[in-house]
Symmetry: C2
Subunit: 353 residues, 2 copies
């Protein structure tokens, strides 16, 4: 099934079931108010949601309405854990080359993973707001799972059984803040701002045969300012599967329901696939010509991230975000729709009483 | 006021107001069920809690009951953010010396901070469960604040205004896992297992004049297996105050209500104050005699952490934990109270029908 959280002015939003083709939705009223409630009590609450999903797909749900991703929050608008792996060798190699950092010796048998902030996840069509373009604003297209309870010491297989839902992720990164931050030795904090998620979270069965060995064997398309920069397959080159990533978190502690564990930026060795972040593009440019040519993102830039299945249908819906300045003064003129109302008002109005 | 979360079998527990002297408690029924609800809506829900607190302290609360810290979960049993600073110079110097790591050049003007897991906080008297003593089990006595909403880019002063509550923390660390983990460059994950918190969270006004300049000018006592190993003042040597630590998190993102931000291990330059973790003790031993003498914690060990005010009263109640093996076979005989019931039963009972 596919689940979304719709904006209703509250911090956790309103849970809705969304049809497989993403055309219609139905509030989960009477079953659960929020997605965390479902995750807390999955065996009890997911079966009636599956029933509602079947009814909705059959066109028989009485209070269905048109689904609009612009009304979505992140499926989990805030989570109790966000741990993001970096499971694609090609990405790690390229990005480390770009900042003159070593490959960790343990890379092939010990997942690389950071702990991120999960108190303020943002929706698929929310603006991404930053204080300065000097921070080196970059998108990162990736996938994540939401887990149920996974006990300390769980095997990768048991951890994989704990996967409840999958999501599409834009793991925003601030490339110019990262080197100094990582040099301090304690990992990311300011270099990883609020993360955005695709409109719907989906159960693994929605992926059919594309969900295999704990990996998603489908392509993620990344379009920067309308131009396709990447079409990367998330499956074959994921060095550690999601069960291994979750088990890595669970080695020394219990992983509780609603934990979000990410794959890291999807990346393919074949250069024809393009990239899922700008840092990789700049690393490739540096390898070819000695210096990066492509600047990071500017205020007003857009990013669109989407995964299509083999029939061409969107699995999660699209992430479609615009980069916006925190303070209007941090930039040149903001786009028209962001201007203060006074500036857009009729000049004659100034003389009105 | 002082607030606790009592075990009721649910994931978020039951919110209670606790008297200033920690002798009695009263459920917050009718005001809020959980602490997160209060934090989400502080201006609306905290005044009636303050009223109940005054009534309870006056001995007039009709349904008061004896407060027992053993029934406590962490005040926030799970949180949407846990970012832990390392604001005591002496601790950072000693621990880095002990693992042959450099002091970060930016230490004096850029807080050192890691992002931790917050999906499974543990209560003040819960066992601390680990897979192996080979992991290098260590306690860390420290303080933390719980924030309200603090917007991106907030000043340290504005961030300090966002502090709602303070807590006592045992930030368990697995010292033998940390060097290899930090060498990978992405910070802590397996090296920082589930964190424990003192019985009650308190509003800053409870500290009176000891809450000054965003720091708590009181001493934290640490007793390992009953022996006092540290009595360290949390105030004067905290290089960054809590407002600066919260503002550090808020530089590139919004900090949302219920975020927990820690001080790092409390540490004083004066050796007579002792230590708030074993790693410091081992570092001092190494400096004196070339090698550490004191081993890290063993299964069955206990740790007691408490902060007293100038009148000798406990501010947060005590953290009192026992270290326990995840698998019974990982250790020798467990302590009597952990043995299965059969082993403790009357031998004569075996012949009963």
């Amino acid at each position: 099934m596919k689940l979304a959280t719709l904006k209703d002015g509250s911090r956790d939003g309103q849970l809705a079931v969304v049809s497989r083709d993403l055309s219609t939705a139905h509030f989960a009223t009477g079953i659960a108010t929020t997605l965390q409630q479902v995750l807390d009590d999955w065996n009890f609450r997911s079966p009636p949601l599956e029933d509602l999903y079947a009814t909705l797909n059959g066109g028989k749900a009485r209070h269905a309405f048109a689904f609009d991703p612009r009304h979505c929050m992140a499926p989990l608008p805030r989570a109790f854990q966000w741990a993001d792996g970096s499971a694609y060798l090609n990405h790690v190699e390229l990005v480390r080359k770009a900042r003159n950092a070593e490959m960790p010796a343990s890379f092939y048998d010990d997942p690389l993973m950071y702990q991120g902030g999960s108190d303020d996840f943002i929706g698929p069509c929310d603006d991404a707001v930053f204080g300065s373009t000097d921070w080196g604003i970059d998108f990162e297209s990736e996938l994540a799972v939401i887990t149920g309870d996974v006990p300390m010491g769980a095997s990768p297989e048991a951890a994989l059984d704990g996967v409840r839902l999958l999501m599409l992720v834009n793991d925003w990164s601030l490339r110019h803040l990262i080197p100094a931050e990582l040099a301090k030795g304690f990992g990311f904090l300011q270099g990883k701002p609020a993360t955005a998620f695709g409109p719907v979270a989906v159960t693994p069965d929605e992926l059919g045969p594309a969900w295999k060995g704990g990996r998603v064997h489908l392509k993620v398309e990344s379009r920067w300012n309308g131009r396709r920069v990447g079409l990367c397959n998330a499956g074959p080159e994921m060095l550690f599967h999601f069960g291994q990533l979750v088990a890595h978190v669970a080695k020394t502690r219990n992983v509780r329901a609603g934990s979000v564990v990410g794959s890291g930026t999807i990346s393919n060795q074949d250069r024809a696939c393009g990239v899922s972040c700008i840092a990789e593009l700049r690393a490739i440019e540096t390898l070819h010509s000695g210096a990066p040519q492509t600047p990071f993102m500017q205020f007003g830039d857009t990013i669109r991230i989407e995964m299509l299945d083999d029939s061409g249908a969107s699995v999660f819906g699209a992430i479609e975000q615009r980069v916006r300045a925190l303070h209007a003064s941090a930039d040149a003129d903001p786009p028209a729709q962001d201007r203060p109302l006074e500036a857009a008002a009729d000049p004659d109005a100034a003389s009105a009483p």
